[in-house]
Symmetry: C2
């Protein structure tokens, strides 16, 4: 099957609901990983997604963070709790197996500033997620770690690498860690398919006309294991939601895979 996956930091699912539903109808991803839903579980607009034809798994908290996974096919497995304090303490982690693929959706802490304890938390969150994956999966299973990773790995991933060097999101320590994580057996799919493109997924609201001036960052990623990398046919940023009225500060990243082409080592 042709399988479409997407990640989208919506910055408030209630504020973004009209835009998000419109985008889902246009793109019809088989799986959509959402971050920063910013609502408690009871306030999640579940019905709207069911009406749109999706199964929904969500994990919210008051005010901040919160993640959700929408799937056209019912999820085969769901992991809501990892029993790791760093991953479970805030609503930032959700894993779902759908269409035979494990999808890990994370909203990695932004980090605030390199001196702030939040930066240590960010690094720990990245490490623990990688460890959790390592403990549970091998690099030869079809796995997609996606979401707002909040790290721009390379100079071409920020609008001004000189000025931003050392800033949170483009700090040597996180970039090094990001590469180290890839070393386990993950491919940065967008960069893999587009080695030279300068394409962003986030533009700060606070910079005037940041979209028009393209003052962006590539912070949202699809990290895939080798079998999925080989099954990939496309991975691109969809700019349209960021250009509409009342946008999120992020815009979706979308990938297409030929799951039939998947060569899995294990029998199941």
């Amino acid at each position: 099957m042709v399988w479409k996956a997407a990640t989208f930091n919506v910055n408030g699912i209630r504020a973004r609901l009209p835009l998000l539903l419109e985008w889902l109808q246009e793109q019809r991803p088989h799986v959509a990983c959402l971050q920063e839903i910013k609502c408690q579980d009871k306030d999640f607009p579940h019905d709207a997604f069911v009406e749109a034809g999706y199964h929904v798994v969500w994990k919210g908290q008051k005010s901040f963070n919160g993640v959700a996974v929408l799937t056209t096919d019912p999820p085969q497995e769901v992991v809501r709790e990892t029993d790791r304090e760093v991953l479970d303490g805030e609503a930032r982690f959700l894993a779902v197996k759908t269409c035979g693929v494990w999808v890990i959706n994370t909203y990695v802490p932004q980090g605030r500033s390199p001196q702030d304890p939040a930066f240590g938390y960010k690094l720990a969150f990245l490490k623990e997620t990688a460890q959790w994956i390592d403990a549970r999966f091998a690099p030869d299973v079809p796995l997609l770690w996606t979401g707002d990773i909040n790290v721009a790995p390379d100079p071409q991933d920020v609008y001004d690498p000189q000025r931003l060097d050392g800033e949170v999101g483009f700090h040597p320590e996180e970039r090094r860690l990001f590469k180290e994580i890839l070393g386990w057996g993950l491919v940065d799919l967008f960069r893999h398919l587009h080695p030279d493109e300068k394409q962003f997924t986030f533009w700060d609201y606070r910079l005037p006309r940041s979209v028009q001036r393209n003052l962006g960052w590539r912070l949202d990623h699809m990290l895939v294991t080798e079998p999925l990398a080989q099954a990939a046919r496309d991975c691109r940023v969809d700019m349209t939601p960021r250009q509409k009225p009342k946008p999120s500060d992020h815009t979706p990243l979308v990938a297409v895979f030929h799951l039939d082409a998947l060569s899995v080592s294990s029998p199941g």
Copy 2:
């Protein structure tokens, strides 16, 4: 000329802007008195009304209160300050002469509760407005005192006169004062033209389905001097804005006058 006047407590002019502009295009009043604009002067959406073909006078304050007068014809005179502390202390009073008619727009304090100092302030505000009018005008000039007066004068002006007797807005003291003020030479135009109609202009947001159950109050009025009363051809409540999405808790009161029929004692 046929002259249409309206009063509308918008409960936040920024939140109500789409509804208000739509309503202005449908009704095209020559003068529209707005209350509870709830914005500072710098935040008033002046341009939107100019584009809609209106001259605008407004007086706002932070957070609460605030009044505005829209006129199709340029105002001949404007009174923004009365030099009376009670009238000028909060943004509740604005007077404009347009098309030869003096229009006094007030947002009378709600009063909170009969024991609260705010209730005394309400009574004082009503008295001072009446005094200001008396000091400046005679009952034989065309004058319209309109706005959210926050008094339901008679039992037929509230949804449950028994239960509400003594409540703020339907307290004997304010009703008595309201009648006393009319005694100077003002006519409650809606009641004058519709002696037996039970028609409201306000329905509390907090009562579930208050509009459908018609749990309302008649708090918004057009008090006119005799010449205007004789020139009046119509005075009715326009329910449509209260029935649309995102309504104010009030709905407009609209009146039509034949100004040619005006017999003014003075020459100008």
